[in-house]
């Protein structure tokens, strides 16, 4: 009898496992994000953005007569969890994957989608080599790191008039290393000089040793470029300012987090500049509509550009589904690759470059006394 009961239980449980697959009247998107851990302050808003887009589309009647379902999976800022999450999404019969604000995690998950011929759209990972590394199922919503590094490098030299620059790099991530590489390249092309390079690891809390070295840099540093993810963004600004250093701090979109102002506090969050995705203070209709919808849904303004990018990722996939007329892997992939002039919140997306990286504008944002302001929008030349 006991054996019978167990068997019964086993059958019920396995039915419970397949049950979700029966409800195939929805279009499922697997959204892989690090909702906990070091990446959470950029990934959680991105998932909110993605879910919001799905909701707006569903409110208008869905796609191909079906509702969109965004299956959010938390991968805990852990690459192993990212791979497991990808497998989970794929076994959940998703028609496309989306996710991540960082290259390292995309590289853990996207190749599994590529193997199955299912498109993966990254909302915020910016390494320009991603489409080359993963394959033809890899699509990027954001600009590439080369673009954002070039933008901030030109701003450093031309607008901040800083020629002697110190570069700090988080040595644990592909994204931060790439960002520094492109930044240094452009600074040197513009006649600037890298007076000192220093390194740290994601998760480091104490930067006092690097700061002491920054202080004694010779010739004197006129700006410091910090290639970091959000977890270290606020910490480094706080500790540098507290050590009495007032030089401009510049960075890329890893600094597009509220931690840059909340951790150091308004008084110390000063003279910080970063390049990021275009949407803040923009008046294009799609931006205004997005900000309003986000505030209505979550009762707060979008935390950062990643919310908009998540929103755009689902929008991009929905646009491709509409054009393809079906959700099957190959047709969807081709429709995505043929995207032209898609009006995303973070700028128009066209896949015209051979690298597969969209050509988009880059915003330079300044932080002065805890206040964000868009200084300029930079466009790539080619």
């Amino acid at each position: 009898m006991r054996k019978g009961k167990r068997l019964f239980l086993a059958i019920v449980l396995s039915l419970a496992l397949i049950a979700p697959a029966w409800g195939a009247d929805t279009i499922k998107l697997g959204a892989l994000y690090n909702l906990t851990g070091g990446m959470s302050s950029i990934d959680a808003p991105a998932l909110n953005g993605a879910k919001l887009q799905a909701k707006l589309i569903n409110d208008k009647g869905g796609l191909l007569g079906k509702k969109i379902e965004v299956m959010g999976i938390d991968t805990k800022t852990d690459q192993k969890a990212a791979a497991t999450g990808a497998k989970k999404a794929l076994s959940g019969k998703v028609i496309a994957g989306l996710g991540y604000g960082d290259t390292t995690f995309v590289m853990a998950a996207a190749p599994l989608f590529q193997e199955k011929g299912i498109p993966f759209v990254t909302s915020g990972a910016t390494h320009p080599m991603l489409p080359k590394w993963v394959g033809n199922c890899m699509f990027m919503v954001p600009f590439g790191d080369d673009d954002q590094s070039f933008a901030i490098a030109e701003y450093t030299v031309n607008k901040l008039k800083a020629k002697n620059v110190v570069v700090w790099t988080d040595n644990s991530m592909d994204f931060t290393k790439a960002l520094s590489k492109f930044y240094k390249e452009r600074i040197q092309q513009l006649g600037g000089k890298i007076v000192l390079e220093d390194f740290f690891m994601m998760g480091d809390k104490d930067f006092s040793a690097q700061i002491a070295r920054l202080k004694s840099a010779n010739p004197k540093a006129e700006a410091v470029f910090i290639s970091a993810i959000p977890n270290e963004a606020g910490l480094t600004v706080k500790q540098i300012r507290e050590a009495g250093l007032a030089l401009p701090i510049v960075s890329g979109d890893g600094f597009d987090t509220e931690l840059v102002t909340t951790v150091p506090g308004a008084k110390l969050a000063n003279d910080v500049y970063f390049s990021t995705h275009t949407y803040r203070e923009d008046t294009r209709p799609e931006v205004v509509a997005f900000v309003q919808a986000y505030e209505k849904e979550y009762k707060r303004p979008p935390e950062n550009a990643f919310a908009a990018l998540g929103f755009d990722a689902v929008g991009l996939i929905a646009d491709a589904i509409k054009r393809a007329g079906k959700t099957e892997g190959k047709a969807l992939r081709e429709a995505l690759a043929a995207t032209k002039g898609f009006k995303a919140v973070t700028g128009e997306i066209t896949y015209s470059r051979p690298t597969g990286v969209p050509m988009k504008g880059v915003s330079i944002i300044s932080v002065k006394a805890g206040k964000y302001k868009v200084e300029e929008v930079w466009f790539p030349k080619q």
Binding site: S41, S172, D206, A212, G234, E242, V263, G265
Partner: protein, 298 residues
């Protein structure tokens, strides 16, 4: 490399070392008395940081009162952990306690994530603790001075307690030989409980300092101080309180000086150097600096 630069790095290392030392003391005390490697110790640092955040930032209670409250909260958590987990399994093989402490650690972290979310929170102290002080080429903040001085005072107080009071004598006796101590009429339960309370109170206050120093806290922050103070305790000789203090300072200083004095390319690998130091010290002094061979308990 100027003298001022090196002096600055030494100050940086001492501040970091003070925090490691405070956490390492509790680690060492608990090990000394019941031979338990308590991996949940680092998470008490996290609890201390969040208690500070709640009382000070949200409720606006004055700073000295908060410091006392955090000490008490740390102590109470320590007592709860001992009563709830370690007392029921006392006498079990060492590895049972070790695994149980790992379990508590994971539980505390996950409870933190559940109730407080994993989003890092900012943590700011009043201006008078953030003021920058400049002595020659060395700059530091009031909070750094407060960390160093209060760590020193707390450690002095603890040494007094352990060496000059009856309770301290009982603790030392229990550490030496638990069965003999019991035969001598020492209340073992009370002694172990007070070791947990004191060690955890110090870890709690280290949490306050950790938050004040780095300005950003999250429920998983206990892992690093937990691991580092374990290393500090091993360097100094597990079970020895002066050893834990010395180990904490050696660790803090070597971490900062590795980054500060080696070429910058190695900066990212500070933790690797820390563990190399640990291995080197253990190769020369297998029981740590102040460690003695102590009785193994089953």
């Amino acid at each position: 490399m100027s003298g001022g630069y090196i002096a600055q790095q030494i100050v940086n290392g001492l501040v970091l070392g003070s925090m490691y030392a405070l956490v390492a003391i509790g680690f060492s005390m608990i090990y000394g008395i019941i031979r338990l490697i308590n991996f949940a110790h680092g998470d008490i640092v996290m609890i201390g940081a969040f208690v500070t955040l709640g009382l000070f930032q949200t409720l606006g209670i004055p700073f000295p009162v908060v410091a006392l409250a955090v000490l008490t909260a740390g102590g109470i958590i320590g007592i709860m952990i001992e009563r709830g987990t370690f007392r029921p399994i006392r006498g079990a093989p060492q590895v049972t306690g070790f695994i149980a402490s790992l379990g508590i650690s994971i539980m505390l972290q996950n409870l933190g994530v559940m109730f407080l979310t994993a989003q890092p929170r900012n943590f700011s102290f009043p201006d008078y603790l953030q003021r920058v002080i400049k002595i020659g080429a060395v700059t530091f903040r009031t909070i750094d001075a407060v960390i160093m001085i209060s760590a020193f005072c707390l450690m002095a107080l603890l040494m007094f307690l352990v060496h000059r009071t009856k309770l301290g004598m009982a603790m030392r006796a229990t550490a030496e030989n638990i069965d003999m101590a019991r035969l001598m009429g020492i209340n073992i339960n009370r002694t172990i409980l007070s070791a947990f309370a004191m060690g955890s109170a110090l870890a709690g206050i280290a949490g306050l300092m950790w938050g004040g120093k780095f300005g950003q806290i999250d429920p998983l922050l206990g892992f690093v101080p937990g691991l580092k103070s374990f290393v500090a305790a091993v360097i100094g000789g597990v079970g020895s309180i002066p050893g834990a203090i010395l180990g904490g300072y050696i660790l803090g200083l070597s971490e900062v000086l590795f980054v500060g004095l080696l070429p910058p390319v190695y900066s990212a690998f500070r933790d690797a150097f820390v563990f190399v130091t640990l291995i080197l010290i253990l190769l020369i002094l297998p029981n740590g600096i102040f460690g003695k061979r102590i009785e193994d308990r089953p």
